[in-house]
Amino acid sequence: MSGEALNELGRIKQSQQTALARLRAHAIALRAVGDEAGANRLALQAIALSRQNLTLATARRKLLLREPLAPQTAALKTLALQAETATARMQALIDALEQATRLVNIIGRILAVLQ
């Protein structure tokens, strides 16, 4: 339920971003042609919309902060451990190959002495 609410809030914010950029661009365009009143009206609308966005963002933050962070942290630590284990396995293979090479070299020297 909270996930759906968060997604909905995300969609609203996206459309508001587009609307904000357009309002500010139109306000600048109107001011450039001398329409101060029109420009101010649009700029104030942009401010009102941005404040509305801040309110939505605050609501979203409140929803997010209800979730505990500790389980995500624990899950990430487990995954880090898995990555470390995979690296260690690779290193163990390298070490085993190195030891096998040493053993073969020793066998070679023994054979040379025996023959």
Binding site: A43, A57, A70, Q82, A83, A86, T87, T101, I107
Partner: protein
């Protein structure tokens, strides 16, 4: 011929797994930079949280500290270790309940550990080393012969000599594939975890002093004041306040740890998408551009 033979063995050796190292290195740099600015700001808050939690626990008659490990130097020496295995466990650390500075710092630590582990796993040198060691082993077997050994041994030695280059290369390739597979598995599993973690941590950081929402509210208020100013003197004051609010807003944007953590989430999502795919590659490039833009802004302000 099997499907496998579509890529001949020689070609196969040349087929490298996608190199995620540059993207992982970039993410680690971003994380280190975020931690540098974050630690001094929220470590005192975490210390205060711990002190408050300890006081509350002690008031309830709880033991707030424990020793873990052997904590016995005699045992350590007897076992060939010069330093005992001893740590102090803080039982009252506020790691549960509502999101706080302690949990955010723990999350940052976990992210650092994770990206370090990812960096080590992504290091292609380990695969090359497997190939080189395999070839070295076969070369050593090849030298066993020298015409002095038994027939069976001579045949093994001859086979090893003939195949050392090819088998060494294939071993390196197989190791590379195994490494890449492990990397992909870990990254894909971690992505939703990091996504949620970054959102929650950023939400908390955006409630702290000097946060972006407060800077934006001040910017909007300053612009509104300028538009509504009724005389030239008021307009001049409001204009000066808007300039100051704009500078503060840009500075807050450049320094915002929440923005950086959200950028790190995007960086990881791009790594998880895989740089071999077109979408994944573009996502990595876009995120790198965003990181550069953020760094440029930090240098400007």
């Amino acid at each position: 011929m099997t499907r496998f033979s579509a890529c001949s063995l020689v070609l196969l050796i040349g087929c490298a797994a996608p190199d995620m190292t540059p993207a992982i290195d970039e993410a680690r740099l971003l994380l280190a930079d975020t931690n540098t600015s974050l630690q001094p700001a929220i470590a005192p808050v975490a210390a205060a949280e711990l002190a408050a939690a300890e006081q509350a626990a002690m008031a309830e008659g709880k033991v707030i500290l424990d020793l873990a490990g052997d904590c016995d130097f005699e045992v350590a020496r007897a076992n060939g270790r010069m330093v005992s295995d001893c740590t102090l466990v803080e039982n009252a650390r506020p790691t549960t309940g509502p999101v706080n500075a302690t949990q955010v710092l723990d999350a940052m630590d976990a992210l650092e550990t994770y990206f370090a582990a990812l960096g080590a796993l992504a290091d292609a040198r380990t695969s090359a080393e497997v190939g080189a060691r395999t070839k070295a082993l076969l070369d050593a077997v090849g030298k066993l012969d020298a015409g002095k050994g038994a027939d069976g041994l001579a045949r093994i030695a001859a086979a090893a000599r003939e195949r050392s280059e090819l088998v060494g290369g294939v071993a390196g390739f197989v190791a590379n594939q195994a490494r890449a597979k492990a990397l992909r598995r870990v990254v894909r599993r971690a992505d939703p975890v990091i996504g949620r973690m970054a959102e929650i941590a950023a939400a908390w950081l955006d409630t702290q002093p000097g946060n972006m929402p407060a800077a934006q509210e001040q910017l909007l208020a300053a612009q509104e004041a300028l538009i509504l100013a009724s005389n030239p003197a008021a307009r001049a004051t409001a204009a000066s306040e808007l300039r100051a609010a704009f500078t503060a807003f840009r500075k807050a944007e450049a320094a915002s740890p929440a923005t950086r953590i959200l950028l790190l989430r995007r960086m990881h999502a791009a790594i998880a998408a895989g740089p071999s795919g077109v979408d994944g590659f573009e996502a990595v490039l876009e995120t790198l551009e965003d990181i550069r833009a953020l760094i440029d802004l930090a240098e400007e302000t």
